[in-house]
């Protein structure tokens, strides 16, 4: 993959993944993602994001049913 001079912070990964779940990303943010995030970070971020998504849905369901 491309050289990776600056390391992405946790929040940058979190932001990129949450926008990805919505399916939208600003061009300038995308360029920053492309230059700073590695595929490994994105995949791990995606899996963690999916887990958080499932947990929050379960929480919502619990809230509704109680």
């Amino acid at each position: 993959m491309e050289s990776n001079p600056r390391k992405a912070t946790f929040w940058q990964i979190a932001k990129a993944v949450s926008w990805a779940f919505f399916g939208v990303r600003k061009k300038s943010d995308l360029d920053m993602d492309a230059s700073m995030l590695t595929p490994k970070q994105v995949i791990i971020g995606g899996v963690v994001g999916a887990l958080i998504f499932v947990m929050s849905l379960i929480l919502l369901v619990k809230l509704v049913t109680n």
């Binding site: 990805a20 939208v24 492309a34 999916a50 369901v61 509704v64 049913t65």
Partner: protein, 526 residues
């Protein structure tokens, strides 16, 4: 995207076998792509004849043409053949032809495995189809092969299980090949975020396939041992659980739905920018939305089982998760529409099918959201409403995507232009008869007509008659497609290298027809 390449003319010193052996031994991605596409078309006609027999029987109430046992075999085999024999191999055919040409690679990464992936399919199809002729006939419990019915059936079921094993192995090998090709063989300068959308959708689809095909293989293997070796995975009397099969099956089955639609998304995302003469609106959003759909597709499976018995918390979870898939899907539909906005549009056949796709797939998506709502699903479960819903996403979704791609790339594959007038006739006949067949099935379902029945109550007669007339019109229209393709292969106006003015991807830098070997020297993408 700009590309430079030194030479891509076919080398005169090719030594490959001719005649039948060329096709048996070939490791060329274009030959293998062609075989996949012809195989899938033959399966499409085979499954189509079954569909027309079903519709002929349902033309009027009462039993006229087939007996109920055979009717059940037809509905089951129609589903299995269309999914595993027609739609999936068609997209692998597109992947074989297009992915190497679109990323500037000389061939697929594992050329011999590619040959094997294809040649597993005809024996699997023969195994599946010959189950009609064994004692007890073909599988008849629905394409979802739920136990206990699938445990009780004759040996036709074992044949179907082995056929699914073989087709699954073929799919997994095909996917590994596609992933490896895309990740390792892109032309210099083609970063992941410069890849054509069709390549992106196939990359994500291939990962989904590798994830879920083994799950299906596990499910049918457990069925096999339950049937033949006395295990009780799904037999309640022996301590097993038939509902567990449904969970395992749909953990495969729901991502499978997206496996059948994501490559169509990719094709449409190539066709619409070309004929709107504008770059795809929100390319990165499209990539992100596809990835998001793929992840979400793995956590919604139990919406197929709302009536199978599930705690209300489970129902709510799967209902919410399912409805949320509409968000990234909506992003895609918005982006396709925004691509067309103020574009300099022309309406050649590929574009007509792409617009037809957006229009009708969105309708299918909406009825999907309706089915996702638990209290409504409990009403429409196993009715014609569900049949109407999934034919809107699989026929006017996946199949329209395939037609759009076929017309789009036929000039590149054959070197000739197809007959545009006949292509437009094909589109409009398909469009009209498709809606005639399936739109009325929404009404039938809402009125309570169950699926998988050869006879029905009198109040359903009129809509069934309309649906059957539409089905025969739809089926016959597809013979026109066969004629158009054959005519295009045999001759026609010479297609230029850049067949479509708005075509920007690498395959349009190659001559038409594309030479047997292309991009032996990789192009440089700027």
């Amino acid at each position: 995207m700009a590309a430079v390449h030194d030479h891509d003319v076919a080398h005169a010193h090719d030594h490959h076998p001719s005649g039948m052996m060329r096709w048996m031994m070939t490791t060329n991605h274009k030959d293998i792509g062609t075989m996949y596409l012809w195989f899938s078309f033959i399966m499409f006609l085979t499954g189509g004849v079954m569909a027309l027999t079903i519709r002929a029987e349902l033309f009027q109430p009462g039993l006229q043409i087939v007996n109920p046992e055979f009717f059940n075999q037809l509905t089951t085999m129609h589903g299995l053949i269309m999914i595993f024999g027609a739609i999936m191999p068609a997209f692998v055919g597109f992947a074989n032809w297009q992915i190497p040409m679109m990323i500037g690679a000389p061939d697929m990464a594992f050329a011999r495995m590619n040959n094997w992936s294809f040649w597993l399919l005809p024996p699997a199809a023969l195994l599946l189809l010959s189950s009609f002729f064994v004692p007890g006939g073909a599988p008849a419990g629905g394409w979802t092969i739920y136990p206990p019915l699938s445990v009780q059936m004759g040996m036709g079921m074992d044949m179907a299980i082995f056929a699914i094993h073989i087709m699954g192995a073929s799919s997994i090998m095909g996917s590994i090949n596609i992933i490896t090709t895309i990740l390792n063989m892109r032309a210099p300068g083609m970063t992941l975020m410069k890849m054509p959308m069709f390549v992106w959708t196939w990359l994500i689809t291939a990962y989904l396939l590798v994830l879920v095909m083994p799950v299906l293989a596990g499910a049918v293997t457990m069925l096999l041992t339950d049937r033949n070796f006395g295990t009780n995975f799904f037999n309640a009397a022996g301590g097993g659980d038939p509902v567990m099969f449904q969970h395992i099956f749909w953990f495969f089955g729901h991502p499978e739905v997206y496996i059948m639609i994501l490559p169509a998304f990719g094709i449409v995302s190539e066709v619409i920018p070309t004929f709107a003469r504008k770059p795809l609106f929100g390319y990165s959003s499209m990539v992100y939305a596809t990835a998001s759909i793929a992840i979400l597709s793995c956590i919604v499976w139990a919406h197929h089982m709302f009536t199978a018995g599930m705690p209300v918390t489970g129902q709510l979870f799967f209902m919410y998760a399912t409805m949320l898939i509409a968000v990234p899907t909506g992003v895609k539909v918005f982006n396709w529409t925004a691509t067309m906005w103020r574009g300099s549009m022309t309406f050649e056949t590929p574009m007509l099918f792409a617009i037809g796709f957006i229009f009708l797939f969105t309708l299918g998506g909406f009825s999907g959201v309706v089915c996702a709502i638990v209290p409504i699903d409990i009403q429409v479960q196993d009715t014609y409403y569900v049949i109407a819903h999934f034919h809107y996403v699989l026929v006017s979704g996946a199949l329209f995507g395939i037609f759009s791609g076929a017309y789009y790339w036929l000039p590149k594959w054959t070197g000739h232009m197809y007959d545009e007038t006949l292509g437009k006739w094909h589109f409009w006949l398909t469009m009209i008869f498709f809606n005639l067949t399936f739109f009325v099935q929404h009404f039938l379902g809402l009125a309570g007509m169950p699926r998988r029945i050869p006879d029905y109550a009198l109040q359903f007669a009129d809509f069934n008659m309309i649906s059957s007339i539409g089905a025969f019109g739809f089926g016959l229209s597809q013979l026109l497609f066969l004629y158009i393709v054959l005519k295009c292969i045999r001759g026609g106006a010479k297609a230029p290298a850049k067949t479509w003015e708005g075509g920007k991807t690498l395959e349009w830098t190659l001559p038409s027809p594309a030479p047997y070997h292309t991009f032996e020297t990789p192009p440089v993408v700027r």
